[in-house]
């Protein structure tokens, strides 16, 4: 599904990713863990096509296509979805309108007919129920005045509606209390499936108790320092990242 090979990325001339290689297969949930400054968010942003990131070398292939050659909106249409660490507030734009524009852009790309207002609203209500989101939030302006939990749930709703092949969750747990964390994780787990790959980026092990990964990759200083199964997350929780740092330096 996703194949990243020797990826080097700089921001404002400063190298952040320094030779990152990673494979994520369809149906797999891969967790990317790492300390602050290791390049986790850079990875999420560069995969989604955010401007300001310079790829100096390496490649990213998504479903056999060169992902880096596509604009952000083209990547989304191909099935890449980024759940933002800080979802953006857009006053003056209704959540329902925003979602419908997004859904229809993806449908048009897949050569499916656009959803009319009635079809769309029905589908949105179903998905809102599924991810346990307050129906009133559809009528509000995008993320405006939403609580932290509501914003993250809105991200999960968008993911459910857009039905991506690759979902990247960038520190979805940040700023959430335990109830919100559980609710958002439930939403994510509902969307796990054999055709979808997920990349779950997090600083803490606690999210991975709710979204149990198939693979855990540790990102340290711009490259994957270690990979393992879900038990690696627990080991990191216990030993911290310094243990790996020493290890990497010794290697």
């Amino acid at each position: 599904m996703l194949s990243i090979s020797d990826l080097h990325v700089s921001v404002a001339g400063k190298p952040i990713l320094k030779g990152l290689t990673l494979e994520v297969a369809a149906g797999e949930v891969a967790a990317i863990m790492g300390p602050n400054g290791s390049g986790k968010s850079t990875l999420a942003h560069v995969l989604s096509g955010k401007p300001g990131y310079e790829v100096t070398s390496g490649s990213v292939t998504f479903k056999g296509k060169d992902l880096l050659g596509l604009e952000a909106h083209e990547r989304a249409r191909e099935g890449v979805f980024l759940a933002f660490q800080y979802p953006v507030e857009i006053p003056g734009v209704s959540n329902a309108y925003f979602l419908r524009a997004a859904v229809n852009a993806v449908r048009a790309h897949r050569e499916l007919p656009e959803l009319d207002a009635v079809q769309f609203l029905r589908r949105m209500r179903e998905e809102m129920k599924r991810v346990k989101m307050d129906a009133q939030l559809a009528k509000r302006e995008v993320n405006s005045g939403f609580s932290g939990g509501e914003k993250k749930r809105n991200e999960i709703l968008q993911m459910a509606m857009l039905d991506p092949s690759l979902a990247i969750l960038d520190e979805t747990d940040s700023g959430l209390d335990i109830d919100a964390l559980k609710a958002v994780s439930d939403g994510v787990n509902l969307l796990r499936g054999p055709d979808r790959a997920m990349v779950v980026i997090t600083h803490y092990q606690r999210l991975l108790s709710y979204i149990v990964p198939d693979q855990v990759h540790v990102l340290l200083d711009g490259r994957i320092a270690m990979s393992g199964g879900k038990e690696l997350a627990l080991e990191l929780e216990e030993k911290g990242y310094d243990w790996l740092r020493g290890d990497a330096a010794a290697a």
Binding site: S48, G49, K50, P51, E71, A72, H73, A76, R77, F81, L82, F84, P87, V88, I90, P91, G92, V93, S94, A96, Y97, F98, R100, A101, A102, A105, V106, H109, D116, A117, F120, L121, R125, A135, K139, Q158, L162
Partner: protein, 447 residues
């Protein structure tokens, strides 16, 4: 037509003398600093109508043009063609008893003393060159007389249409007189041919009696080669309310200035506006609010969306005079620049001569929010649609001040069209909560 009253001849002569003494306004004058009048240089402003002379032939107007311009929900429509009232094209419907809406020239013929009491009394030509030019050369304009305790039930539309037959300049003079506790909504629209240069130099005088309420929506949508200057001035009685909305869309260069005099306790004015400047357009707004009495209130919200190499300007002065205790004044101007060559000039100003007042002002000039833009792109929305969505969202705060009348929706559409965001607006309307009733529906008696 009979010859004009001597007093009117004297008024015109005064206007002419003042205009000649002053000459065209220069950008050295603070009020005109953002609006060069060079496009008026060399224009024979008096050519349209020799003072006191007979009216020119009234150009026939295509009924389809009037029908196309008619806004929904308006109860009457007065049409002016090349600065003169066109009775046949107008639809004055059924107005409440005692209400007069129509031609100033006709009112001057029928009831000169009534007009004389107000004409030129609100907007003085002293020191105001283009008001003076209008005073000298106006042929006609809107005359509205609403008696005390009378409300006109729906909005009244007034169309000022310029045709290819118009002279180089027209000078509509509008006078609106509202008695005590009178209520009225007026929607003025200005349009003309795209293919030629012409000038409109209009003056609108508003007299609001005690407790009167006037809503005035002004839609400047002149032809692409036009120079448009419109000065609105209001004198407000005790507890009266003036709400204006100045929408600027058209013209090569267009300026709408509004001066509100809050001369009696409890008077308030709400001056709002939206200007969409593109190409090489220069759209200018000047406001002056004069708090002369205690317990007066004003607020202003002007928003500009400026694209290409256009210039959008807002210059607003609020005077709070000595003795205007408990005054509450605010002014806010926000600008969105859509292109590197676009320019916004913004200067809200407060001049306060009394201590016990509340006053605030603010201004912003910015571009589309990169974070919001990327958020939309990351959700598969194409760059052009994303920009349209965000631009329309920026204009929303201003548009919401147009009110709930049916005509407002049409104007919102016109704005969306100029912003290339009509599809956004249509899709939003389809998803509006009104269409979305089954999610709150609870079956009767269901437990």
């Amino acid at each position: 037509m009979t010859s004009e009253q001597p007093w009117l001849g004297a008024l015109r002569a005064r206007g002419r003398a003042r205009f000649e003494a002053l000459g065209l306004p220069s950008t050295k004058a603070e009020a005109w600093r953002y609006f060069p009048t060079r496009s008026l240089r060399g224009v024979d402003l008096g050519a349209g109508r020799p003072a006191g002379g007979a009216p020119d032939r009234l150009e026939a107007i295509d009924p389809a043009r009037v029908a196309a311009a008619r806004l929904p929900g308006t109860v009457a429509c007065a049409v002016f063609v090349d600065g003169r009232f066109a009775a046949a094209a107008s639809d004055l419907g059924e107005l409440p008893a005692g209400v007069t809406i129509g031609s100033l020239a006709a009112a001057l013929a029928n009831d000169p003393e009534r007009v004389r009491a107000h004409l030129g009394s609100v907007a003085p030509s002293e020191g105001a060159a283009l008001v003076a030019a209008n005073e000298s050369w106006f042929a006609d304009g809107l005359w509205v007389d609403v008696p005390a305790n009378t409300a006109v039930a729906g909005p009244v539309q007034v169309l000022f249409l310029t045709t290819d037959a118009a002279g180089p300049a027209t000078h509509p003079r509008n006078v609106v007189v509202m008695g005590r506790s009178a209520e009225l909504t007026l929607v003025l629209g200005w349009s003309g041919p795209a293919g030629r240069a012409y000038a409109t130099n209009a003056v609108t005088e508003l007299v609001l009696g005690d407790n009167a309420t006037l809503r005035l929506t002004n839609v400047e949508d002149e032809g692409a080669g036009a120079t448009h200057v419109h000065h609105v001035q209001a004198r407000q009685g005790r507890d009266s309310t003036l709400r204006t909305f100045a929408l600027s869309l058209g013209g090569e260069s267009a300026r709408t200035s509004i001066r509100a005099e809050l001369g009696a306790s409890g008077a308030s004015c709400h001056l709002d506006g939206l200007y969409l400047a593109a190409g090489a357009q220069r759209l200018d707004h000047y406001t002056e609010v004069d708090h002369q009495a205690p317990h007066t209130a004003s607020n202003q919200y002007y928003a500009g969306v400026i694209d290409d190499k256009a210039v959008g300007s807002y210059l607003g002065v609020v005077f709070i005079r000595e003795g205007a205790a408990k005054t509450d004044a605010s002014q806010l101007n926000k600008n969105l620049l859509l292109a590197p060559g676009a320019t916004a000039n913004s200067k809200p100003q407060l001049e306060i001569d009394h201590d016990d007042v509340k006053a605030s002002h603010g201004t912003t000039v910015g571009q589309l929010d990169d974070k919001a833009l990327f958020y939309l792109l990351s959700r598969a929305i194409g760059p052009e649609e994303a920009r349209g969505i965000l631009t329309l969202a920026f204009a929303q705060d201003a548009l919401s001040r147009l009110g709930d009348d049916a005509y407002a929706a049409t104007l919102v559409h016109r704005v969306a069209a100029k912003l290339r965001a009509e599809a956004v607006l249509d899709a939003e309307a389809e998803l509006a909560p009104g269409d979305d009733d089954d999610d709150d529906a609870t079956p009767e008696g269901a437990e």
